[in-house]
């Protein structure tokens, strides 16, 4: 009889304790089982009436039960009372956290960073040069003779007869080669200026990255390999590309690199003027005339050079339609990047 009661009370305790969720429930449970007249105490009372032979066994069983359930009871009581103390503060976890403002680099800087890190991985150094340049560095030493129509390719802001705002970052190539003997492998990011009417598609200043590599066995094939590697890292490895002949006074042969239009995937659309291709950079083998200006032996050394516009790349990459937004510095724009 008692044996059966022990089992029943154990089961009923475990059932009751499951629904305990407040201090009040805990107290009710204590009274029901552990008070002087509680169910567990009652079992010990009942033990007195048990026949002598069964007493030791049932007594032991009863003690085990009391220890087990009271330990569990204490654990639950502890958990409930501690969680309840939080509940007393009524914290509203849904309120917003403190707003920290972390600034950001301009999207053009971020685009440039990406380009820079790819070329640094390909063994390139990074060099700087002035924006207010001499005619010599910007044109003459880059094989743009005075009075040559090639100069029309780059509308120039002049500050005097001899000085101008650089129209490309290519002069830094000359400055670098003047300073050091081959091998030279570097990129030159920077700001350039063109005397062109401001519109959604063109601005009077923008940013470029130029690059050059001169050594004893630099070939057009290596130029292709390096730029394809860059383009795949930047635009994605499934990219399709083509190199097509072009003209720059400081390279010969010269090329422009096109990649498949990302919008129409080569079918032809407004962005790519229906050609299916987007021009991303100009490049070529360094013209021997340029080597002459920096006293490099063009029989011994060959080299390649390339240049690309950062704005154009960022416009394409982020689907921005008006170049002027880069220089409006509207915080609502800057914060998006």
């Amino acid at each position: 009889m008692l044996d059966k009661n022990i089992t029943e009370i154990k089961e009923s305790f475990y059932t009751d304790i499951k629904s305990v969720s407040s201090i009040k429930d805990v107290e009710e449970l204590r009274i029901k089982y552990f008070s002087r007249n509680g169910l567990v105490s009652q079992l010990f009372e009942d033990l007195k009436d048990v026949v002598k032979e069964e007493k030791p066994i049932l007594g032991k069983k009863l003690n085990l039960l009391r220890n087990e359930v009271s330990a569990y009871f204490e654990e639950v009581k502890e958990r409930i009372s501690s969680s309840n103390s939080n509940k007393e503060n009524e914290i509203d976890l849904t309120l917003p956290g403190k707003n920290y403002i972390v600034g950001s680099k301009h999207i053009l800087t971020q685009t440039l960073d990406e380009i820079k890190s790819i070329f640094k991985g390909l063994g390139f150094s990074v060099a700087n040069g002035p924006e207010l340049e001499s005619d010599y560095y910007n044109f003459e030493s880059l094989n743009f003779p005075a009075d040559h129509p090639a100069r029309d390719m780059q509308d120039t802001f002049f500050v005097s007869k001899e000085f101008l705002l650089r129209t490309h970052t290519t002069p830094v190539q000359i400055r670098l080669m003047e300073k050091q003997a081959p091998p030279v492998r570097a990129i030159m990011p920077g700001r350039v200026y063109r005397n062109e009417a401001v519109s959604a598609r063109s601005y009077c200043m923008f940013h470029q990255v130029d690059g050059i590599y001169v050594d004893t066995d630099v070939t057009f094939a290596e130029l292709k390999g390096t730029l394809v590697s860059f383009a795949k890292q930047f635009y994605g490895s499934d990219l399709k590309y083509r190199f097509r002949p072009s003209f720059f006074p400081f390279t010969e042969p010269s090329a422009e690199m096109d990649i498949t239009c990302y919008l129409c995937h080569g079918k032809g659309c407004k962005i790519c003027k229906n050609s299916g291709w987007l021009e991303i950079l100009g490049c070529g083998m360094v013209d021997p005339n340029v080597f002459k200006f920096v006293n490099y032996d063009s029989e011994k050394y060959t080299g390649y050079a390339f240049g690309m516009g950062i704005e154009r790349i960022a416009l394409l990459k982020y689907g921005i339609t008006d170049i002027r937004i880069f220089f409006d510095n509207d915080l609502r724009f800057l914060k998006q990047f």
Partner: protein, 801 residues
Amino acid sequence: MKISLSWIKEFVDLSRISTEEIVSQLTMSGLEVEDVVDQTNLYKNFIVGFVKETEKHPNADKLTICKVFDGKDDLQVICGASNVKAGQKIVFAPIGTEIPNGNFVIKKAKIRGVESNGMICAEDELLLSDDHSGIMVLDEKFEAGKPITEALNLNDVILEIAITPNRPDALSHIGVARDLAALFDRDLIIPELKLNETNDDINKLASVVIEDIVNCPRYIAKVVKDVQIIESPKWLKDRLEKIGLRPRNNIVDITNLVLHECGQPLHAFDLDKLNGHKIVVKSTKSEIVFTTLDSKERKLPLNTLMICDGKREVAIAGVMGGENSEITETTKNILIESAYFHPSSIRKTSKTLGLSTDASYRFERGTDPNITKYAAERCAQLVAELAEGKIANGIIDVYPNVINPKEIELRFSRTTKILGYEVAPDKIKNILSRLGLAIKVLDEDKLLVSVPTFRPDIEREIDLIEEIARINGYDNIPTVSKINITLEKKTDETEFDEKIRQTATALGFFEMINNPLQTENDAKLTGNPIRIANPLSADMECLRTSLISGALITISKNIRQGVKDLKFFEIGDSFKRICDGEIKSFSDFTETQNLLLVISGKEVVKGWNIEEKESDFYLLKGLIDSFLSKISLDNVLIDSYYSTANEIYAYHLTKSFKEVELGRGGKLKNEVLKQFDINQDVYCFEFNLTVLKSVQSSTKTYTDPLKYPKIIRDFAFILDKSVKYLDVKEFIKKKSSPLLKVVSVFDVFESDSLGTDRKSLAFTLEYYDESRTLTEDEVEKDFNNLIALVTKEFNAQLRGK
């Protein structure tokens, strides 16, 4: 440049080659095709229509309701052009036709309540010209319903090709045909000329003298007599119209045709208007005014190359003819000029006059001195055919120093070295021959290449290598998959900028990029600016002298957009003039890389658990110091404070390193802000990064964290308001025991209870030693001593305790 494929096919057989293939090969060999107009496709839906009747639109004055017969049915069509009349044959676009100039499709529509079933077209809508003055009226003989591709011969393919400045030879149909011949390995066909000349000796009819042989190395004249100046035949007009030229009369049209055929600009003079029937080529000796055939008076500078007759100037050489000698309806006898002018002379004239013509464009890029004779004769032949002229016998050819083909050696081995792959010698020979270059084998590795004068761009071996590369196709050049990277040190001159950007963004600043070109007023704010000689506009006439004005423009714009709490930085170059006159060297100006940090509006915006806080000077100062600590420059710079205003700051501080100022900043004056329409406080600090870079140390050393406890003491003094915190702090540091390591302020308090000219400054003192634990006694002793000294030195009174 526009190229007609049907025209080009006269010079090279392109049978069995698709338009797509031609376009692709041209583009991939350097003659980039920017646009292709396939007329057959473009005009496939347009037909000849007949306007049977017209009536006024009841609801619109300018619209006409037309009954148009399309060969089958009568259709009601609304037309907006004023020249539409019953009885006209017109170009009709039925429903479903795509209109070329707008990429829209004609739909059945109600225009002001009246149904319209198609459109009557103007020339510009068909991309035939820019003319939108009225609808295009066709010859009455055309049959209604006939496709206009047939009626108007619109079955050509027109290519728009971008010709790079190095390829003057490609500025003509024969020139492009020559590339196609090489690309498709076919023959270039140049039609032979057959001239029927009279017995009149040209030397008795005209004479030519070149006085400026440098700028005019060759001058050819051909005379044709008894010409009829009339409208050109349809085939000639079609040909010119297709490439975007407007036909004028037969003579002018012929010279244009020859120009676009072989690239040689020609000019036809009325021979009877040339005094003494004489041509003299010479440069002007003084400034003169000359009226060109477009009836404009032009001021010509000294040393402009001119064509003169026996008395006066009759043309600006290579640029434009004069009104005084031009062909008119009454012209009888003509002199055809076919000359070679020096490119830079023509370029100079064209640039100074701001006048670029088809002729000057070609001369300044370099024409072929040796095509001149062919061009003159081809022109004479056509004039004989189309103007019933009689060609005088012979030619006047003044060419004292013949320009011969250049000879260049080409090594196969060098070609391989540059391109990175071997092009077979036979292939090379074939490519060069197809391009019209003569070759002679010198040895196993070497060719002697003779470059005709029509390729002035080919001067060196490398130029020949380019020809080989582009005709053989850049696609055939391998793309390497491995490169060598040398192990020498790589440098990055932008590394420091990067560190600055990271620090600034971590402190909550947003990077802006402002245009360095600005108004003179804005640029003058912070220095002596450099002017742009040829600015785009007055608001971009100077280079900035600091980054401040650009930042203020940005702040002003943002405030107007309702964004008022701002924290920006910019890294960029600033330019200052340091000479009075013209800039002739790099020492006449400075270009420095600057960093500007600027704050305005609220530092903290009110939140549910946070009080709002305005940006102030101390925020700026704190940011600058945190910033400097991140680049390890916090403890080496000297601050100087200026509480009185200067040109731009109400008050400011500077940071220097060993007497060299690295930067300055503070609160901008209201007068300055007003210039930019800003009515909230702005604080900024500008560093000279060029100098900052040179002083920053890249090495950091480690110090052990303190192992022994610190003893902290506080005190507060009541002192005169004029006493500066820094003075008290320095005094304490000077007078204290070396165990006092840090002195900092934790409270500044002013109140009437202290007296109107008194304030309270509360300090925290940190005592410690790196090698032992301090005793309370030794600290207490120093602390008490400091209290006594400060009290005395600053007339201070210890608070509270």
